[in-house]
């Protein structure tokens, strides 16, 4: 299936051969294209510089959600998994009591669902258990941050990413996915978990 592309270089080749998997260079280019979309949607975000020259390791966003009497600040990281060669959403959150200002890191998955995720039942990527034979907390696990080794955070299991992106790619109502549009579509699936939505 061929895809036309305005720039005609990497994006056209990319879409044919490797989809949905990304090399570090392709991911870096996708991040650069995606950043203005985040800014345009009013989301505080920045590119994470890499030790590799001229590349970026990913994107970091900061979002704030007010919920009951607390203000929840979430730093989310869009990073390329070296295992899956797919983007993975990592995040760490703190909640601050609006009266006392006291801030507490969120470290339990139950608290993620309580404070960070709005309407979890409506977010399809969170709904099913990730291994059919075993059920536990679901699609979100705590982990050691892949870039900042002294930090702990959470991530959304990426094992369904490939299926999700293929489904989007086959959707006749969506124009062919390029590096420029990849992350905007991807964030549509994973972003709602941490309150990120990108405007059309």
């Amino acid at each position: 299936m061929t895809r036309s592309s305005a720039s005609g270089r990497t994006t056209a080749n990319y879409a044919k051969l490797n989809f949905p998997f990304l090399t570090p260079a392709e991911f870096s280019e996708a991040c650069e294209s995606f950043l203005p979309r985040l800014h345009h949607s009013g989301i505080t975000s920045r590119l994470l510089p890499s030790t590799e020259k001229d590349l970026f390791d990913g994107i970091e966003t900061t979002t704030v959600r007010e919920h009951h009497n607390v203000s929840v600040t979430t730093k989310a990281f869009v990073l390329l998994s070296p295992i899956y060669s797919l983007p993975v959403l990592y995040f760490s959150s703190t909640y601050a009591n609006l009266h006392t200002g006291e801030s507490t890191p969120i470290t339990l998955v139950e608290d993620v669902y309580k404070y960070v995720v709005a309407n979890p039942s409506q977010i399809s990527i969170l709904r099913e258990p990730t291994i059919p034979a075993v059920s536990w907390s679901g699609a979100i696990s705590q982990c050691e941050h892949p870039l900042y080794h002294d930090l702990l955070c959470f991530y959304i299991h990426p094992c369904r990413t490939s299926d999700v992106m293929n489904t989007l790619n086959e959707d006749p109502e969506i124009p062919g996915i390029t590096l420029q549009s990849y992350l905007a579509l991807w964030i549509g699936v994973f972003g709602p978990t941490v309150g990120i939505a990108v405007r059309e």
């Binding site: 339990l108 990730t130 034979a133 075993v134 080794h149 702990l152 094992c159």
Partner: protein, 291 residues
């Protein structure tokens, strides 16, 4: 250490890896004790297992002496070595090799401190949740382990279908093999998700741990560099850590250690995986500096 067999059948080496132990001496932290002079608790921990697997035995021993009795009902205990909280989601053998800066070239001379039995301090209060993953439920360890098992499967094949299609019975059996330290229970199932020929793998699941830091490198290494050249320990380390391993054949600045043994740089990684992988499917290799 030589690897003689590429067969997936049970091997001496695989059994030796399974049987490796680190003797632990557990001391209850003074602020957790109701009384003075509580004797330490001694236990042989297996290198391929995880600290939380021993907590119920350890806490049962210290329970009469606890200042806070309710703590004995809580799963969230933690251990430190020389002030460093131990990551309960890392295998015990890896923790020991990395944190004691194990140098297997040291002889049995009196100057060398092997830190055996390995002395660890047991705590309940002030869980360092900025450093350690939460251990708040009985399924926390299994969840972390299963995530690694899935990843390793994905790395090996490019998908996690083998693990995902295990029946609940098989999946439970494999975990029971880890929990009960039962070689056959574990390997009877593990064999089902490993292709018979390690050279058909896409990549070898490998994590490399750097000394004196929390830095862990996740490397994607294929079994072969070319149709004629296998990836060895040396070629992989040279490719991913060229500053520490400028030579593919000789250790000049640092050494790779696995299960307490210095790895020969010439060992093919694919065979090393099948003989010496941890229960999560990974080779967890730690790097120690040559002093």
């Amino acid at each position: 250490m030589s690897v003689s067999s590429t067969s997936i059948a049970s091997s001496d080496l695989r059994r030796k890896v399974w049987d490796g132990v680190i003797p632990l001496q557990i001391i209850l932290a003074p602020d957790e004790c109701r009384v003075l002079d509580v004797d330490p608790f001694y236990i042989n921990a297996t290198r391929v297992s995880y600290l939380p697997q021993y907590f119920s035995r350890i806490i049962a021993y210290f329970e009469p002496f606890l200042r806070d009795h309710a703590a004995s009902l809580s799963p969230e205990w933690w251990l430190d070595f020389e002030g460093v909280p131990l990551r309960w989601n890392w295998p015990i053998g890896l923790l020991y090799d990395l944190l004691t800066g194990l140098d297997p070239t040291q002889g049995d001379g009196p100057e060398h401190d092997w830190h055996l039995p390995w002395t660890l301090i047991l705590h309940h209060s002030q869980y360092p949740s900025d450093i350690l993953l939460r251990l708040a439920s009985d399924s926390a360890l299994k969840e972390q382990w299963m995530n690694r098992v899935k990843e390793a499967d994905f790395i090996r094949r490019g998908n996690a279908n083998a693990v995902m299609s295990l029946s609940k019975t098989d999946s439970d059996e494999m975990w029971a093999g880890v929990g009960e330290h039962n070689f056959d229970k574990f390997w009877d199932i593990a064999k089902k998700i490993l292709p018979p020929d390690p050279y058909t793998l896409r990549h070898i699941p490998i994590k490399i741990y750097l000394p004196s830091s929390n830095k862990m490198l996740q490397a994607l290494v294929p079994p072969s560099i070319s149709p004629r050249e296998l990836h060895t320990v040396g070629t992989a380390l040279h490719a991913h850590l060229p500053q520490l391993f400028p030579s593919r054949r000789t250790c000049l600045l640092a050494r790779p250690v696995l299960h307490g043994v210095i790895l020969n740089m010439a060992i093919p990684l694919a065979e090393l995986l099948y003989e010496c992988m941890y229960t999560d499917g990974y080779l967890h290799i730690c790097i120690t500096m040559i002093s």
